[in-house]
Symmetry: C2
Subunit: 150 residues, 2 copies
Amino acid sequence: MQTAIDEARHGIVHNHGGPFGAVIVRDEEIISRAHNKVLKTNDPTAHAEVLAIRQASSVLGNFDLSGCEIYTTSHPCPMCLAAIYWARIKTLYYGSDMDDVAKIGFDDSHFYDLMKGDVSNSELRTVNISRDRCLELLELWENKPDKKMY
Amino acid sequence: MQTAIDEARHGIVHNHGGPFGAVIVRDEEIISRAHNKVLKTNDPTAHAEVLAIRQASSVLGNFDLSGCEIYTTSHPCPMCLAAIYWARIKTLYYGSDMDDVAKIGFDDSHFYDLMKGDVSNSELRTVNISRDRCLELLELWENKPDKKMY
Protein backbone atom coordinates (compact mmCIF):
# COMPACT_ATOMS: atom_id res chain seq x y z
CA MET A 1 0.00 0.00 0.00
CA GLN A 2 2.91 2.34 0.62
CA THR A 3 3.75 2.29 -3.11
CA ALA A 4 0.13 3.19 -3.94
CA ILE A 5 0.30 6.04 -1.40
CA ASP A 6 3.55 7.29 -2.96
CA GLU A 7 1.88 7.21 -6.40
CA ALA A 8 -1.10 9.22 -5.13
CA ARG A 9 1.19 11.76 -3.47
CA HIS A 10 3.13 12.21 -6.72
CA GLY A 11 -0.15 12.84 -8.58
CA ILE A 12 -1.32 15.44 -6.05
CA VAL A 13 1.98 17.34 -6.08
CA HIS A 14 2.15 17.41 -9.89
CA ASN A 15 -1.56 18.25 -10.45
CA HIS A 16 -2.21 15.09 -12.44
CA GLY A 17 -5.64 14.44 -10.92
CA GLY A 18 -7.41 13.30 -7.75
CA PRO A 19 -5.54 11.97 -4.69
CA PHE A 20 -5.64 8.30 -5.63
CA GLY A 21 -3.03 5.62 -6.30
CA ALA A 22 -3.14 1.91 -7.17
CA VAL A 23 -0.68 -0.96 -7.40
CA ILE A 24 -1.12 -4.44 -8.90
CA VAL A 25 0.89 -7.29 -7.41
CA ARG A 26 1.43 -10.91 -8.47
CA ASP A 27 3.35 -13.37 -6.31
CA GLU A 28 4.57 -10.45 -4.14
CA GLU A 29 6.04 -8.70 -7.19
CA ILE A 30 4.76 -5.29 -8.31
CA ILE A 31 3.43 -5.60 -11.88
CA SER A 32 2.08 -2.05 -12.29
CA ARG A 33 1.64 1.19 -10.35
CA ALA A 34 -0.41 4.24 -11.27
CA HIS A 35 -2.06 7.39 -9.99
CA ASN A 36 -5.11 9.30 -11.16
CA LYS A 37 -4.39 11.29 -14.33
CA VAL A 38 -7.83 12.66 -15.22
CA LEU A 39 -6.56 16.24 -15.27
CA LYS A 40 -3.19 15.56 -16.89
CA THR A 41 -4.61 13.50 -19.76
CA ASN A 42 -8.12 15.04 -19.98
CA ASP A 43 -9.44 11.48 -19.77
CA PRO A 44 -12.35 10.88 -17.37
CA THR A 45 -11.51 7.15 -17.32
CA ALA A 46 -7.89 7.72 -16.23
CA HIS A 47 -8.45 6.60 -12.64
CA ALA A 48 -5.53 4.96 -10.83
CA GLU A 49 -7.11 1.49 -10.83
CA VAL A 50 -8.00 1.56 -14.55
CA LEU A 51 -4.50 2.76 -15.46
CA ALA A 52 -2.90 0.09 -13.26
CA ILE A 53 -5.08 -2.62 -14.85
CA ARG A 54 -4.28 -1.42 -18.38
CA GLN A 55 -0.57 -1.38 -17.58
CA ALA A 56 -0.58 -4.81 -15.88
CA SER A 57 -2.50 -6.35 -18.81
CA SER A 58 0.05 -4.88 -21.17
CA VAL A 59 3.00 -6.14 -19.09
CA LEU A 60 1.54 -9.65 -18.75
CA GLY A 61 0.06 -9.74 -22.28
CA ASN A 62 -3.26 -10.92 -20.88
CA PHE A 63 -6.67 -9.35 -20.21
CA ASP A 64 -7.11 -11.94 -17.43
CA LEU A 65 -5.33 -10.83 -14.24
CA SER A 66 -6.77 -13.60 -12.10
CA GLY A 67 -3.41 -14.31 -10.45
CA CYS A 68 -3.16 -10.68 -9.28
CA GLU A 69 -4.15 -8.54 -6.31
CA ILE A 70 -4.81 -4.79 -6.34
CA TYR A 71 -3.98 -2.19 -3.68
CA THR A 72 -5.85 1.10 -3.98
CA THR A 73 -5.65 4.08 -1.62
CA SER A 74 -9.44 4.60 -1.69
CA HIS A 75 -12.33 2.22 -2.28
CA PRO A 76 -12.79 2.00 -6.08
CA CYS A 77 -15.63 3.87 -7.80
CA PRO A 78 -18.14 1.70 -9.73
CA MET A 79 -16.14 2.11 -12.96
CA CYS A 80 -12.96 0.85 -11.31
CA LEU A 81 -14.69 -1.90 -9.34
CA ALA A 82 -16.27 -3.27 -12.52
CA ALA A 83 -12.88 -3.01 -14.26
CA ILE A 84 -11.47 -5.12 -11.39
CA TYR A 85 -14.30 -7.64 -11.97
CA TRP A 86 -13.59 -7.79 -15.73
CA ALA A 87 -9.87 -8.27 -15.04
CA ARG A 88 -10.77 -11.21 -12.73
CA ILE A 89 -8.53 -9.84 -9.98
CA LYS A 90 -9.05 -11.93 -6.86
CA THR A 91 -8.20 -9.61 -3.95
CA LEU A 92 -8.81 -5.89 -3.43
CA TYR A 93 -7.05 -4.04 -0.62
CA TYR A 94 -8.36 -0.49 -0.13
CA GLY A 95 -7.56 2.33 2.30
CA SER A 96 -10.06 5.17 2.73
CA ASP A 97 -13.72 4.40 2.09
CA MET A 98 -16.51 5.90 -0.01
CA ASP A 99 -17.77 8.17 2.75
CA ASP A 100 -14.26 9.58 3.23
CA VAL A 101 -14.04 10.36 -0.49
CA ALA A 102 -17.55 11.84 -0.61
CA LYS A 103 -16.51 14.31 2.12
CA ILE A 104 -13.93 15.87 -0.20
CA GLY A 105 -16.40 16.14 -3.08
CA PHE A 106 -15.98 13.04 -5.23
CA ASP A 107 -19.07 11.32 -6.66
CA ASP A 108 -18.22 7.63 -6.12
CA SER A 109 -20.85 7.10 -3.44
CA HIS A 110 -23.50 8.97 -5.47
CA PHE A 111 -22.73 6.85 -8.54
CA TYR A 112 -23.18 3.66 -6.48
CA ASP A 113 -26.58 4.97 -5.33
CA LEU A 114 -27.55 5.71 -8.96
CA MET A 115 -26.57 2.19 -10.02
CA LYS A 116 -28.48 0.60 -7.18
CA GLY A 117 -31.55 2.68 -8.08
CA ASP A 118 -31.53 4.18 -4.57
CA VAL A 119 -31.79 7.67 -6.08
CA SER A 120 -33.40 8.69 -9.35
CA ASN A 121 -31.07 9.67 -12.13
CA SER A 122 -31.74 13.22 -13.20
CA GLU A 123 -28.30 13.59 -14.78
CA LEU A 124 -28.49 10.97 -17.52
CA ARG A 125 -31.40 10.39 -19.89
CA THR A 126 -31.47 6.74 -21.04
CA VAL A 127 -33.32 5.74 -24.21
CA ASN A 128 -33.71 2.29 -25.78
CA ILE A 129 -33.64 2.34 -29.59
CA SER A 130 -32.94 -0.03 -32.53
CA ARG A 131 -32.97 -3.16 -30.36
CA ASP A 132 -33.74 -5.50 -33.28
CA ARG A 133 -30.80 -4.32 -35.36
CA CYS A 134 -28.48 -4.57 -32.33
CA LEU A 135 -29.70 -8.08 -31.52
CA GLU A 136 -28.46 -9.12 -34.96
CA LEU A 137 -24.93 -8.28 -33.76
CA LEU A 138 -25.24 -10.62 -30.79
CA GLU A 139 -26.52 -13.34 -33.14
CA LEU A 140 -23.61 -12.75 -35.50
CA TRP A 141 -21.22 -13.19 -32.56
CA GLU A 142 -23.08 -16.23 -31.19
CA ASN A 143 -22.82 -17.98 -34.54
CA LYS A 144 -19.15 -17.12 -35.03
CA PRO A 145 -17.25 -20.42 -34.88
CA ASP A 146 -13.89 -18.95 -33.74
CA LYS A 147 -15.19 -16.54 -31.07
CA LYS A 148 -13.17 -16.20 -27.87
CA MET A 149 -14.80 -15.23 -24.57
CA TYR A 150 -13.22 -12.88 -22.01
CA MET B 1 -26.83 4.02 -34.12
CA GLN B 2 -26.01 2.66 -37.55
CA THR B 3 -22.41 3.86 -37.17
CA ALA B 4 -22.14 2.08 -33.79
CA ILE B 5 -23.53 -1.10 -35.41
CA ASP B 6 -20.97 -0.81 -38.23
CA GLU B 7 -18.20 -0.45 -35.63
CA ALA B 8 -19.39 -3.55 -33.75
CA ARG B 9 -19.60 -5.54 -36.98
CA HIS B 10 -16.02 -4.55 -37.87
CA GLY B 11 -14.82 -5.73 -34.45
CA ILE B 12 -16.58 -9.09 -34.78
CA VAL B 13 -15.22 -9.77 -38.26
CA HIS B 14 -11.66 -8.87 -37.27
CA ASN B 15 -11.69 -10.70 -33.88
CA HIS B 16 -11.00 -7.52 -31.92
CA GLY B 17 -13.36 -8.37 -29.05
CA GLY B 18 -17.04 -8.67 -28.11
CA PRO B 19 -19.88 -7.60 -30.44
CA PHE B 20 -20.20 -4.05 -29.19
CA GLY B 21 -19.88 -0.58 -30.74
CA ALA B 22 -20.28 2.99 -29.49
CA VAL B 23 -20.44 6.46 -30.99
CA ILE B 24 -20.27 9.86 -29.29
CA VAL B 25 -22.10 12.76 -30.89
CA ARG B 26 -22.16 16.49 -30.21
CA ASP B 27 -24.53 18.85 -32.04
CA GLU B 28 -25.32 16.05 -34.52
CA GLU B 29 -21.64 15.65 -35.36
CA ILE B 30 -19.80 12.37 -34.67
CA ILE B 31 -16.90 13.09 -32.30
CA SER B 32 -15.68 9.52 -31.80
CA ARG B 33 -16.52 5.93 -32.76
CA ALA B 34 -15.15 2.70 -31.34
CA HIS B 35 -15.69 -1.02 -30.95
CA ASN B 36 -14.67 -3.46 -28.25
CA LYS B 37 -10.96 -4.27 -28.42
CA VAL B 38 -10.46 -6.42 -25.31
CA LEU B 39 -8.97 -9.30 -27.32
CA LYS B 40 -6.97 -7.20 -29.77
CA THR B 41 -5.30 -5.08 -27.10
CA ASN B 42 -5.37 -7.56 -24.17
CA ASP B 43 -6.99 -4.76 -22.16
CA PRO B 44 -10.04 -5.72 -20.07
CA THR B 45 -11.09 -2.04 -19.95
CA ALA B 46 -11.13 -1.66 -23.76
CA HIS B 47 -14.90 -1.69 -24.06
CA ALA B 48 -16.45 0.31 -26.91
CA GLU B 49 -17.91 2.98 -24.61
CA VAL B 50 -14.65 3.53 -22.68
CA LEU B 51 -12.66 3.77 -25.91
CA ALA B 52 -15.20 6.19 -27.42
CA ILE B 53 -15.08 8.36 -24.26
CA ARG B 54 -11.26 8.38 -24.22
CA GLN B 55 -11.17 9.33 -27.89
CA ALA B 56 -13.84 12.05 -27.57
CA SER B 57 -12.07 13.55 -24.55
CA SER B 58 -8.86 13.60 -26.54
CA VAL B 59 -10.52 15.21 -29.58
CA LEU B 60 -12.27 17.86 -27.49
CA GLY B 61 -9.37 18.32 -25.04
CA ASN B 62 -11.77 18.00 -22.12
CA PHE B 63 -12.62 15.32 -19.55
CA ASP B 64 -16.11 16.87 -19.37
CA LEU B 65 -18.31 15.65 -22.25
CA SER B 66 -21.49 17.21 -20.89
CA GLY B 67 -22.49 18.54 -24.33
CA CYS B 68 -22.36 15.02 -25.78
CA GLU B 69 -24.62 12.02 -26.30
CA ILE B 70 -23.55 8.38 -26.59
CA TYR B 71 -25.00 5.64 -28.77
CA THR B 72 -24.08 2.09 -27.78
CA THR B 73 -25.25 -1.14 -29.39
CA SER B 74 -25.86 -2.80 -26.00
CA HIS B 75 -26.71 -1.42 -22.57
CA PRO B 76 -23.38 -0.44 -20.95
CA CYS B 77 -21.82 -2.65 -18.27
CA PRO B 78 -21.29 -1.00 -14.84
CA MET B 79 -17.74 0.04 -15.80
CA CYS B 80 -18.96 1.82 -18.92
CA LEU B 81 -22.04 3.30 -17.27
CA ALA B 82 -19.90 4.82 -14.51
CA ALA B 83 -17.46 6.09 -17.17
CA ILE B 84 -20.47 7.79 -18.83
CA TYR B 85 -21.35 9.33 -15.45
CA TRP B 86 -17.79 10.59 -14.91
CA ALA B 87 -17.76 12.05 -18.44
CA ARG B 88 -21.01 13.90 -17.60
CA ILE B 89 -22.62 12.69 -20.84
CA LYS B 90 -26.28 13.70 -20.81
CA THR B 91 -28.04 11.13 -23.02
CA LEU B 92 -27.45 7.42 -23.51
CA TYR B 93 -29.08 5.60 -26.43
CA TYR B 94 -28.69 1.83 -26.23
CA GLY B 95 -29.84 -1.10 -28.40
CA SER B 96 -29.89 -4.59 -26.91
CA ASP B 97 -30.35 -4.91 -23.16
CA MET B 98 -28.53 -6.67 -20.31
CA ASP B 99 -30.65 -9.82 -20.54
CA ASP B 100 -29.85 -10.09 -24.25
CA VAL B 101 -26.14 -9.83 -23.52
CA ALA B 102 -26.31 -12.30 -20.60
CA LYS B 103 -27.81 -14.89 -22.97
CA ILE B 104 -24.62 -14.96 -25.03
CA GLY B 105 -22.41 -15.29 -21.94
CA PHE B 106 -21.33 -11.78 -20.93
CA ASP B 107 -21.26 -10.86 -17.24
CA ASP B 108 -22.75 -7.34 -17.28
CA SER B 109 -25.97 -8.32 -15.54
CA HIS B 110 -24.10 -10.39 -12.93
CA PHE B 111 -21.77 -7.46 -12.21
CA TYR B 112 -24.77 -5.18 -11.65
CA ASP B 113 -26.16 -7.75 -9.19
CA LEU B 114 -22.80 -7.86 -7.38
CA MET B 115 -22.74 -4.06 -7.11
CA LYS B 116 -26.28 -3.91 -5.81
CA GLY B 117 -25.44 -6.56 -3.22
CA ASP B 118 -28.20 -8.78 -4.67
CA VAL B 119 -25.77 -11.69 -4.80
CA SER B 120 -22.79 -12.37 -2.57
CA ASN B 121 -19.39 -11.87 -4.09
CA SER B 122 -17.40 -15.07 -4.01
CA GLU B 123 -15.06 -13.93 -6.80
CA LEU B 124 -13.43 -10.92 -5.15
CA ARG B 125 -12.06 -10.76 -1.62
CA THR B 126 -12.18 -7.17 -0.31
CA VAL B 127 -10.00 -6.07 2.60
CA ASN B 128 -9.74 -2.65 4.24
CA ILE B 129 -6.19 -1.75 5.33
CA SER B 130 -4.09 1.34 6.14
CA ARG B 131 -7.09 3.70 6.28
CA ASP B 132 -5.32 6.30 8.43
CA ARG B 133 -2.38 6.68 6.06
CA CYS B 134 -4.73 6.89 3.08
CA LEU B 135 -6.87 9.53 4.80
CA GLU B 136 -3.75 11.71 4.95
CA LEU B 137 -3.83 11.78 1.13
CA LEU B 138 -7.38 13.12 1.09
CA GLU B 139 -6.36 15.77 3.63
CA LEU B 140 -3.35 16.74 1.51
CA TRP B 141 -5.69 17.18 -1.48
CA GLU B 142 -8.32 19.02 0.56
CA ASN B 143 -5.72 21.52 1.77
CA LYS B 144 -4.20 22.04 -1.68
CA PRO B 145 -4.96 25.62 -2.68
CA ASP B 146 -4.81 25.06 -6.47
CA LYS B 147 -6.78 21.81 -6.67
CA LYS B 148 -9.18 21.36 -9.58
CA MET B 149 -12.28 19.16 -9.31
CA TYR B 150 -13.54 16.90 -12.08
